[in-house]
Symmetry: C2
Subunit: 116 residues, 2 copies
DNA sequence: GAACTATATTGACGTTTGTCAATGTAGTTG
DNA sequence: CAACTACATTGACAAACGTCAATATAGTTC
């Protein structure tokens, strides 16, 4: 995943049957793998889950850095990957950047994995 | 993922609430990321989907190599990762190794990603 | 506008990953 | 048992990844 060729998850999942219904094309496999890669990192999974579990459904970087135990640039880096992949949105208000779950993004990935 | 610390997906998913219910612990995030990483590769996604879509629900390496366009060692390598992660089983009969989907493995990952 | 604050970007570095050629292994067939 | 077949393992290498320190950027406050 070169991070430039990340499609938002909504585009990825618009196209396809569930994974086990018919063989994935090379192209669809690439796109789906990109979305899954964005999720397939412990720090990013925790970020998604922390954002989702936050009061009001949003969190700023400052809330996330310390509990995650990673540096601020690293956290920003992971958040960018999640935004680019279409799992989170970023909303800058004043000095803070607030991140939210994109409604339905996880669900649509989930639906693709389910058997029949 | 060092491939030695891969937990089968059934162990990974036995423990946890859906991703968005409460914040993942570092340990659970590591395990779930391991499972997702096993899936987050275009070749492996296609392998899973080709195996699932095969007649009788199983396929041998020889069936998979050519349509995938990768060398036989590479295909074996990917299949091993999928077996270690608990998504496929391997059954050696005669000269051939037959791979099958583990029932429920994809579903349990899927359930973890679903919102609410 | 100067000092400050929260976040993003850049550049560097070690680690992990995906791939293949070469080789090893186990089962089959003559 | 010798030749063959299907698959696994090893070793090597380039590419991608995760991380941080340093720096840049944009907004706030005095």
């Amino acid at each position: 995943m070169t991070l430039t060729d990340l499609l938002p998850v909504t585009d990825v999942t618009a196209c396809c049957e569930p994974l086990t219904r018919e063989s994935l094309s090379a192209q669809n496999a690439e796109a789906l793998a990109g979305s899954l890669k964005a999720l397939a990192d412990p720090a990013r999974l925790r970020l998604v889950s922390m954002v989702a579990a936050s009061e009001g459904g949003e969190a700023c970087v400052c809330d996330l850095t310390e509990p995650l135990g990673l540096s601020q640039p690293t956290v920003s880096h992971h958040l960018k990957i999640l935004v680019d992949a279409g799992f989170l949105t970023r909303d800058k208000r004043g000095l803070w950047a607030y991140y939210r779950l994109v409604p339905g993004a996880l669900d649509s990935i989930s639906r693709l994995l389910i058997t029949i």
